[in-house]
Amino acid sequence: MGVEGIGARARRKEDKRFITGKGKYTDDMTVPGMGYAAFVRSPHAHAKIVSIDASAALDMPGVDAVLTGEQLVGDGIGNLICGWMIHSKDGSPMNMGAWRALEPEIVRHVGQAVAVVVADTAAQAKDAAEAVMVEYEELDAVIDPVAALEEGAPQLHPEAPNNLIYDWEIGHEAAANAAFDSAAHVTTMEIHNNRLAPNPMEPRAALAVYDTAEEHYTLYTTSQNPHVARLVLSAFYNVAPEHKLRVIAPDVGGGFGSKIYIYPEEMVCLWASKRVGRPVKWVCDRTEAFLTDAHGRDHRSVAEMALDADHNITGLRVKTVANLGAYMSLFSSSVPTYLYATLLSGQYNIPAIHANVKAVYTNTVPVDAYRGAGRPEATYLLERMMETAAREIGMDPAEFRRKNFIRSFPHQTPVIMCYDAGDYDTTLDAAMKAIDYAGFPARKAEAASRGKLRGIGFSCYIEACGIAPSAAVGSLGAGVGLWESAEVRVNPVGTIEVLTGSHSHGQGHETTFAQLISERFGLDMDAVSIVHGDTDKVQFGMGTYGSRSGAVGMSAIVKALDKVEAKAKKIAAHLMEAAEGDIQIEGGELKVAGTDKKLSFTEVALAAYTAHNLPEGMEPGLKEGAFYDPTNFTFPAGTYICEVEVDPETGKTEIIDFVAADDFGKIINPMIVEGQVHGGLTQGIGQALLENATYDDSGQLITASYMDYCMPRADDLPAQFQLSTHETLCPGNPLGMKGCGEAGAIGSPPAVINAITDAIENNALDMPATPEKVWQLCRAQMKMAAE
């Protein structure tokens, strides 16, 4: 591949195996004697389990065992945990109900596992799972999070009276109230953020192998963070101590957050592999994925914005009810709190903010982080408020934003975050130029001549990435530190393996991470391997989510590279009898400045391992590790502008143009960044126009297949996205990176909805903007115009 440095559009090293079908995913793993698991799942949203009769299932061909929650609890397997403690505003800790991997007493959502069958084949296991007779006594269910808080609502957990998990606040209520008391204008909106099913291309899967001789477990699984999985499985679920458990996350086909968590099924496979005495494999089907993968979003908010007579924002008040589903998933508690309300200041100078968040149990599948995690909810709320306020005061939406931009850094917001760097004017200008904002009225008139309603909508987003400083998140309730580790192993022949605690499930780390090494030592990309996803190879790591692999994971690699470079220079200086400070690395060689003396990187590496002639006291070998803990979050930001045409006869929205001007700090590989933005925008447009995980009143998920759950497709998108990037370096990490993995999904939904509401001149629109909803609003608007 040659030498590819920072900023090169290097083609992805991993694509050859993916495109030729040679990727190795969990379902591709096969071990001798392997059995297959199938889960018996609740058809009810809320019910008491009266009895479980497995006798018929046990008599079926190939069936080894039927295991239930009673056995799981009897074996001392722990409850599933939530790893972030949130305290209510009265100081009390969050109210958490028990979540067992197989439920023995009361099921609380459709699809919850109550038993598992292990059989010789997957088909036998599924047949037998249907033959397990479970008698239920149905209970009333509650699906709507606001209704769940009302008196007399069905109660899910005795630990959480009124289904309230926490009643949390941030900011200064009195200061915010004062701003409203003296406001010249107040904008008020009720804003819903629709519920999404994550839908990674590869469904979850697990293969658990128990070695009786070593009393050791191996778990192959679809994880974004195998070390965290091992830690949780060991420390909380009592499956095995850490040194007796190896977790391998091989090629993983997308996660978007949904594969951060430790789910019941993976844990049950591990437990069953020992109990049944054979390796156990489980592969989730698409219906199970809809029913059991943690969903995303699902907020109901009321927001108020105060402006002074000069159109400066003086205050923001937000009340949000967040639906967390039937149980608290691993990071669920942090999403509608520290990942959401801390971003409510956006790109704007808002002197006073107060937000109150109530997290609520309902009889739906758990809700947790999904691409953006809290930040899309904050951005959607704030950017709809900005557009609406601008319309109400009769100001251009771009100028209203510009008037309130933060321009001096560091900037302390009233909601914890301290923005380190940014230039919001530049991205706004770039986006407005790219979309030809001045030409919009002419385009609108031309569309009207064709019977189409054309609209334009803005979104100036900011997000917090690279989570995050361990001490800071610890003080906010996180159960783990959020640093990253790296180890750079130079082999005696000069090739390099980089072990990283980050995990790639589509991000292209094998390419971007290798570019760092290729540039640093002038080595061919093919001389570098990136090793990840195996707890036996990589000592520890925190995994990949929250757009942290660049800003945190690569920073750890940089630190380890610094150490390797220093040692290599010492060896070279010693061998060439030069001063260490005169050694320069260039084109794969270590040279003595100003002379023609040089050694190849390979020669230096070999010298480190032959150890025949090393500087006095130096240990042999060339291998260095580093842990990197950032000092702050990073703050990617940018402006998105969407231009749509609505067909008033059908309500169909067509996205004509979409412009994204992003500031991601330093970019390692522009092509991969563009891919991330394309994917993020597509998911955001999916949320805005198409996707909606919908339960009926009895708690049945009625969007449990692609016949009803509408994923975005190529023809739902504009012919091309107009992308540009504008670099202000992040001062907090060595490369100045900010992260780009979630921005598209965070920034795009309000741009789309603002464009539609501009086109139809009616603001009463919630996501997804389905054709029927838009058609109804068009009709209402026409009626009003006629009257």
Binding site: L690, N692, Q776
Partner: protein
Amino acid sequence: MYETTYHRAESVENAVALLGGADDPKILSGGQTLLPTMKQRLAAPSDLIDVSRIADMHGICEDGNAISIGAATTHAEVAGSDLVKARIPGLAKLAGGIGDPAVRHMGTLGGSIANNDPAADYPSALVALNATISTTKRKLSAEEFFTGMFETALDEDEIVLSVSFPVAEKSAYAKYPNPASRYAMAGVFVARHGDGTVRVAVTGAGQNGVFRSAEMEAALAANFTPEAVAGISVDADGLLSDIHGSNAYRANLVTVMAKRAVAAAG
């Protein structure tokens, strides 16, 4: 999927014999609905009798003033047929808009109409073009054939062999697809026949599957322009209502699609 036994029928006679000899058989003709249903364990036929390789059930030919299409002919073959494109362009366009390329290369005309999904595209073309369905037992008009949602006049042991589409003077199909499944939420096939009569057949919207709009037909017979149907609404009461669209929205789509089909027919 539950266990099943697969048979590849060599001939129509062979298929009929296999059908008679099985417990709970299903005919497989492309399988674009049946196989996903079986994979979800929602259907469990004892035997699958695959008729898609029977040579006599394939092909497209001119038959007087009609186009005859074998039941095992794929949607892609109909969409790509020069004969269909020249004589009944609305039918070629309809076939080219079914599902996605993978579906169109596996799914067949006979399989689609025998399933009679209320949101399938083909039933509207058969009814509007007044097609005749030939089976192993008889010939049926389209309106005799489609009897209700997922219901046809076919006997358990009866197989569709071909469909004969009279060539219309003008014809066109306009559909508004369900954003998720891409089946029709409302699909309207409009045909003006040589004798001056007009047929308007609607799929995707009706609770009982495909239906005709007599009011639109009369209006178009008098004045074959989009404006003629612009003010005509079908009764929302008999229409489907689900998370993707209420019956009132579907009623609106029927009018809009009828207008667009007439405009496309020229």
